[in-house]
Every structure is written in structure tokens, then in C-alpha cells.
Subunit: 490 residues, 2 copies
């Protein structure tokens, strides 16, 4: 399985590309920039979706569905938004095909030209706020706490599976509030939901922070984000939550009557995570032997492989294996018993290792005699022989342990690769080494841009509750009151 | 709530349109033909999705995701398919917008024209079979049992919320098999899944049958369907399952090596249900007081409304109400306790009646004294006073009873409106009255077409396991071996 598989140290980028395809997670489609998410990859995404959806509902949100298409003119209604989104997008201009006169197939029917072109949604603020106008009259209609699971399209020129694709799957929350305070509270609440999900389910530590003004979402007054560090030291923005102020309410004229009977513009937030999280998950934990999945998101948490000669032995082992399977499933652990006779145990071991199954149980004739099984964990590749008695409890603890270990390992990696720089020379050296560099910045967009030009590093975020510390900007020596997080990023 | 609400007898079509909007299920969007599915409507769709997804997985299927876009040339690869689908569809011709020179907004960038136009998927057979080509080499790779939850677009000129919209949500199963027999078995298995779902969850009786050749899916050798009768006697096709033979395998050159080493084309099926089921659900059960939902699909199964004067009384009642709520929830019954002080009980009663909540529990000061509650069921509008003791069991049984009653009522309605016609005169009279008419047909597409022209009725299906019966075609008097189901349809 791991043959012809590039190692991380050889070429990290190539390692990632190969892993996604060889582990059956996704592949490129015939449509430029669009991916096919294969069943094994989609099963992981479904687990992410289910957990996030649960957390959204627990925080009072409901789901709805808005149109795929956005009238072209809508994108222009919010000044910043049009700059950010109305560029690289898929444009529908016609609504009919007809048979080619030469019989060669079908051609676009020139008579079926749309009066106004439709844009395949790159994000849905405009169509949603146009809809909210009809839903909101008074303070009694607020808040609106709506989320949508959908596909979106941004015509990226350079694409990578999961990390940057023309079409991707995501959720976008769009909420409407009667006060600024409530909207900010919502923005922060959803950032916390994302951070909790990343840390507890993806086993991926994140830094919560604000984006600088130049990295904000087009149309937002404040963009909050969670930033994670990949194994190569690069940052990956894993989720964003935007405080939109009254910008979209003003653009679409959405007002409400206050308790006192005054007309005021509505306050807005939006927040989203996408199939990009799949890329983050893969790059945080996987190794040169393939995928490593945290138990909380693994479609198969435990695989049981029988080692046998002949049908009689298989029958005996299967009886015991299926008993274990039932015991594990009673604890809501997902188990696969792989008794295929078309593949040898060694092949199966390699396959499940490559696919990141957290725990593998092997059971052979000697185990049957001794009442034991061999239990191997994917994260550390340690193996131990355990008594079959009480195996479900032992495996349950092992899965918890693996989940914690993966998180701790990722946290240690981040801490080992987070540095402070106090001179430009030091900064350049550290940034090129890879990792997060905490450094002073004078707060100007110009300096930010210049640093980016010189090093390719961007300010990933200004951490929430950042420690105040007097210092001098790494580039300009102008005064600064805090360090910000610099890194090269995906 | 039910004010300004058209009754079914006044105008059935208008009644439906108003109900969908007034019950907060869906509304028209600013994009022609595309709907917004509102949170209450989406919550019902989510319950449908969850149950169907469970049933698909129980029958061995997995989910995946394929691109939204299909290269134009793909549609032409299967001869019948292009006739059926390559007509009214959304065509993406450009991938970029730019600022208008006159500053009036954004315009399509003529330099960003696609070499080959992309079609927003009207269905995904072509892009999926193009993908399967890479997945299938040998019999060991089969069967492939994949389902996709997705949005699709068909540019309908006359649209109605849920029943016919340009964009709709659906699931499409696409399976690949090594033998014809296995593919037919799959086609029938999924028809059974749909029928079971319709009857057990939607409380909607259906007839399982075959479509006539002229009503088949474009590219199918056989289309199976489930047909339901709405309250106005019209038929609604609620789901289809297609045996595609080797048509798509041939179009996309998908072959596999058999156990014997021969190269053969792969056998295919596809099957789907859509948000159209929402229309079917609404039209099967609802009445002149609004929506009626079967308990198995109701987002709120029980609502508890307190009847009180003053905060002290509310506090006492709330304590009891919340205790009941917890007891009901322990039985996995979804309960809303509506203690809003901004609305009177009468308003709340009308609102939940209109929204089809199956059971309403009212609790007031006299109930507190007597240890009782008033329980009203939405389907029959009967009310009874019950002891609070053991209320959760009673309500649980009541919900089961409502579910059964709705199914039985719909079944009785269908039986009362299913007729046999043995002469053309009789046929015309019955068809215009509304309902299903069982009549002989000579099996020719010409006759079918002529009957449609004369009466607007179509052959809904040839029932599975249809009783053989010698007779003469209702129109041509040619001989016929069985009756088929005629009806006007949505």
C-alpha cells in the first residue's frame, strides 16, 4: 500500500497529494478544479458535518436552504463584497441547449440568453440578506439564527484537493440581530464552537484570533479565525466567523422596528467551515505510512483481522471476532471485521494502516488457545497482546488515549515550532525555517504587505486576549503594543 | 392564522400555494424558479433525509460527492439521455466578472470564456460514469453502491414550490454491477425502500409499478416508480428507480474483467427522490386549517401550551409542563414548550394547528387542581382531558395512532377514488372526475399519446405483479392483457 509513496521529508506537498488519492479520500474530476469526494473521504466529512450540526443546533441554530444562483447585480450591492467575490466565479448566461445543425452534439441556444446573468454562489450573504428583508419587520422577528449546508464555487486557478478547489462543500451561518453587542457575542460564540470542534474532534490545536483589516472577509467589520499549524510548520486557516455590522442590512435595506418603535438597521454575522478541514485533518496527523485519523472522526475505529488456515479455523476465529465486534458496537464503537479470503493478513494490515484506522485487532489460532488478541494502535504503531476478557473496555480506553495523544502531539509540535523574533534578521531566518513567529508589527497595512512581499509570510491573526507588550515593529521599528502571529500559510 | 386562507374546495391549487408559504415551509426567491426552503420546511426535509440515509446505509450503500458541473459534451454521449436532459438547463459560459467601465457595477469578462461550456447537473449519470471508468477494472471492484445528496437544476418554465422548481434538492443513487440480474435486483430493492419510506414515514400509500417506454428515464431500459394519489385525485410520482442496462457503461467505455478473465460492460442502476416529496407530503394530509404532519416526520411532535394568569401561576404550570416535557423527551418524542408571554393561548393554538403539530397539550389552573391536561390531536381535531399520570405513554400511543390513522385515511381516499372503466365514455367521465382509472390499453405509444391529448391523463404505471386480465383497449378496442393506471398528474 505504502509503496511508491513519497515521504514527508522528501516532498511534503507531494506526500499530501499522493496521500489524498491513495487513501481513497478524493480525486480530481474531469471538470477543471472540481473534485470527486470518494466514499471513504465523504464518510469522514459526514462525521464532521454530524458533529458540527449538533453543535450548531445546541447553540440555537436551525438549517435552511437558499438558491444556488445569485443575480449578478446583487454582488455589487455591498461595496467591499463585490471587490472580494465578484471576480473569479462561474457565470450562467444561458438556460438552454439545442442540437447542433451539423449533428455533432449539442450547442448553446443563442435565443436562450438570460436577461441578467446568474452567478453560482461563491458565498451567500447577498441572496440571504435579500431574503431576510422579507422576514424581518420588528424586534420580535430577531434574532434569526440560520445555517446552510451547501456547495459553493470560486474559480481558483491553482487547485489542490480539499485545500483549494473550484467547487467545495461547506456550511455558512447567517444570523441577524437587533443589537451590535448580540451580534458580536454570536460571532465569538461560533468561533468557540469551531475551536472546540477542531480541538475535541479533529485533535487539532488552534489559535483563536482576529484577522488584520487587510485579511478580513469582504464586507466584514471584524473577522475572527482559528489558525492551525501543519506538520511542515505552515499555517492553515481552519474556520472564520465574521461580524458584519450593518453593512449587508444597509445594502439590502433590512430594517426592524425596535421595542420603542424606531426603525433601525439589522446587525449581522456570518461564519463558515468547509471541506478544507479535510485537508487540515490529513496534514495535522498523517505520516509516511499513510493517513492517521483521530478516533472521534474515523469512519472505522477498529478493524478486526483474522489470521487463519482453512475454513474450520476461520469459523472458530470468526465466532470469537464477531462476539468482540458486538461488544465494541454496544459501546458505539464502529468496527469492521475483515474476513475477506481474497487478501492475506499482511495486505490487510497495510491497507488499514494506510487508511488510518486507529486500532487494529488481530486474532489467530494461538490467540484462541491463550484467550488473547494482538492490539495495534495506528498513532504510535505500538502493539500489545491483551486478554480477550473485558476487551471492549480496554479498546474504549485505548481510543480515548489515542485521541488525546494525537492532540498532545500536535500541540507539542506547534509549541516546538513557535518562536519569538526581535530583529528582522532573526525574523527572516525563523520564517524560512517554518513555523509560527511571534513578532511586533506597527499595525499598518503597508508594513504587513511589505513583510509579505519580502518573506511570503502573512499575519495569521492577532490572538484573542493577546498579552500586551511594548516593542518595536520587526520591519519599521515603529512602536507596537503586542506581538502578532506570522507564518507562511496554505 | 387560517384567515385569508383558501379552502381546498374553493381552489385546490391556490390552497396548496398559500399553505406552503403561510406555514413557513418555503417561498419564491429573487432568482426565477428557485425556492428558499425556510427553517420549518427544511426541518421536515432533514427528517426525511435522515431516515432515507439510514435505509440506504442499511442496504449497503455509501455516500460520495461528484462535481456540480458537467462538460457539455458528456451529455451527448448517451443518445437517449441527451434528448431527455440536454435541453432546459443552466449553462456556465464564463468564469470571471470585471468592473464595468462606466462604474455601474460588474460585467462578464469576455476574455474569460470557457473553452467548453459547463452544464449545471440536471442529473449525474454522465459525470459519475465517467468517474467509475477509473474505479472499475475487475469483478472485485463491483458492486459499487454509491449515493449522493445534492442540488440539481432543470430550467422549468412553469414552477411551483417543491413540486417543480428550477433548482431542487435530491439524492441520486448510482450503482454498478457485474450482472444484469444483480442490477435488476438492486433497482427493485431501492423501489421497495422508497415505498416503505413513503408508507411508514410519510403515511402515504403508493402503487409500485413500471413506467411505459415513453415515460421512461432518458437512458433507462426500465423505469420503476411509486405513484401516490393526492387529495384532488391527481397522481404524483414520488420516486423512481431505473435499470440502465449497459447504456452508460457503453457510452463511457466502462468494462470489467470477469472471474474468467473476459472483458464485459458494467450494468447500472440509478434511483432518486427529491424535495418534491415535500409537496406530496403536504398534499396528502393537510386540510383547510393548514398543514397536517405525520408524527414520524414532524419536527415538533408535541407542543405544550400553558394557560395562565400572572407569573406565579405560570411558574407552577411551567414546573409541571417541563416535567412532562422531560418524560416525553425520554421517549425520543420532540416537544416544544411554548411559554411566550407575547402571544395568547388562542393564537398559539391556531399557529400550531396551522403548522401541523400532531399533538397539542394545554395545561391551565384547573388542570393543575385536577391533575389533568387537555390533549388535542391535529388529524381528527378531537380533544380529551387526560390524567397527567403516565402521560408520556399515553401520548406515545396517541402519536402511533395518528400515524396509522393518517395512512389509513389516505389509503381509504385512494380506494374511494380508484375506478375501473370499460368504455371510452366511462373513461372520460371518470378521468375528469379525478382519481385513478384502471383501464385496458393496447400497449402502443401512439394510443398512449392520443389518450393524453384527448384527456390530459397519462399512464402512471403498470403495477408490479399486475393481475392478468383479457380485455380491449379503452380507445382502440385492440386486445390487451392487463389494466394499467391512468390519471392526471402533477
Amino acid at each position: 500500500m505504502a509503496k511508491d509513496f513519497t515521504s514527508r521529508s522528501e516532498d511534503y506537498s507531494q506526500w499530501y497529494n499522493e496521500l489524498v488519492v491513495k487513501a481513497d479520500l478524493a480525486e480530481h474530476s474531469a471538470v477543471r478544479g472540481c473534485m470527486v469526494i470518494k466514499p471513504y473521504g465523504y464518510a469522514i466529512w459526514e462525521k464532521m458535518q454530524a458533529q458540527l450540526d449538533k453543535m450548531f443546533k445546541e447553540t440555537g441554530h436551525v438549517n435552511a436552504y437558499f438558491p444556488l444562483f445569485i443575480p449578478k447585480s446583487y454582488l455589487s450591492k455591498e461595496a467591499d463584497h463585490v471587490e472580494g467575490f465578484a471576480k473569479e466565479c462561474a457565470v450562467v448566461t444561458h438556460y438552454r441547449l439545442k442540437n447542433a445543425e451539423d449533428g455533432s452534439g449539442v450547442v448553446v441556444d443563442p435565443d436562450a440568453k438570460l436577461e441578467e446573468e446568474l452567478i453560482v454562489r461563491p458565498t451567500s450573504e447577498t441572496i440571504i440578506w435579500n431574503t431576510y428583508k422579507g422576514w424581518i419587520q420588528s424586534y420580535r422577528d430577531l434574532p434569526i439564527l440560520v445555517n446552510q449546508w451547501a456547495n459553493v464555487v470560486r474559480w481558483e486557478m491553482r487547485t489542490r484537493l480539499f485545500l483549494r478547489t473550484a467547487e467545495f462543500l461547506w456550511q455558512e451561518g447567517h444570523t441577524a440581530h437587533s443589537t451590535k453587542e448580540e451580534a458580536i457575542e454570536e460571532t465569538e460564540k461560533m468561533l468557540d464552537v469551531y475551536a472546540k470542534f477542531a480541538e475535541s474532534f479533529m485533535a487539532m490545536p488552534v489559535i483563536k484570533g482576529f484577522k488584520t483589516p487587510s485579511e478580513r472577509f469582504a464586507g466584514a467589520l471584524e473577522t475572527y479565525c482559528i489558525e492551525a499549524m501543519m506538520q511542515d510548520g505552515k499555517a492553515l486557516q481552519a474556520g472564520t466567523s465574521h461580524f458584519l455590522g450593518q453593512n449587508f442590512a444597509k445594502a439590502f435595506d433590512v430594517k426592524f422596528a425596535t421595542k420603542e418603535g424606531k426603525q433601525e438597521f439589522v446587525w449581522a454575522t456570518s461564519w463558515g467551515v468547509s471541506t478544507r478541514l479535510m485537508g487540515a485533518l490529513i496534514m495535522t496527523h498523517s505520516d509516511d505510512e499513510g493517513l492517521v485519523l483521530p478516533p472521534n472522526l474515523a469512519p472505522i475505529q477498529v478493524v478486526i483481522v483474522p489470521i487463519y488456515k482453512g475454513e474450520e479455523q476461520l469459523a472458530q476465529i470468526s465466532e470469537q471476532a464477531l462476539k468482540m465486534k458486538a461488544e465494541l458496537e454496544a459501546k458505539s464503537i464502529s468496527v469492521k471485521y475483515d474476513d475477506r479470503d481474497t487478501h492475506k493478513p499482511g495486505f490487510k494490515f497495510a491497507e488499514y494502516e494506510f487508511k488510518g484506522v486507529p486500532v487494529r485487532i488481530a486474532i489467530g489460532p494461538r490467540d484462541m488457545e491463550n484467550g488473547t488478541v494482538e492490539v495495534a494502535r495506528r498513532d504510535t504503531k505500538e502493539k500489545e497482546v491483551l486478554q480477550q476478557k473485558d476487551i471492549a473496555n480496554k479498546v474504549e480506553h485505548l481510543l480515548e488515549n489515542i485521541q488525546k495523544n494525537l492532540y498532545q502531539k500536535a500541540l507539542d509540535h506547534r509549541e516546538d515550532n513557535t518562536f519569538k523574533a526581535d530583529s528582522w534578521e532573526e525574523f527572516e531566518k525563523l520564517i524560512n525555517k517554518g513555523g509560527f513567529v511571534l513578532a511586533h508589527w506597527d499595525g499598518s497595512a503597508e508594513t504587513e504587505e511589505k513583510i509579505k512581499d519580502l518573506t511570503k509570510a502573512t499575519i495569521r491573526c492577532i490572538p484573542l486576549n493577546n498579552k500586551k507588550e511594548e516593542g518595536k515593529c520587526i520591519l519599521t521599528q515603529n512602536s507596537s503594543s503586542q506581538r502578532v502571529v506570522f507564518a507562511k500559510a496554505y
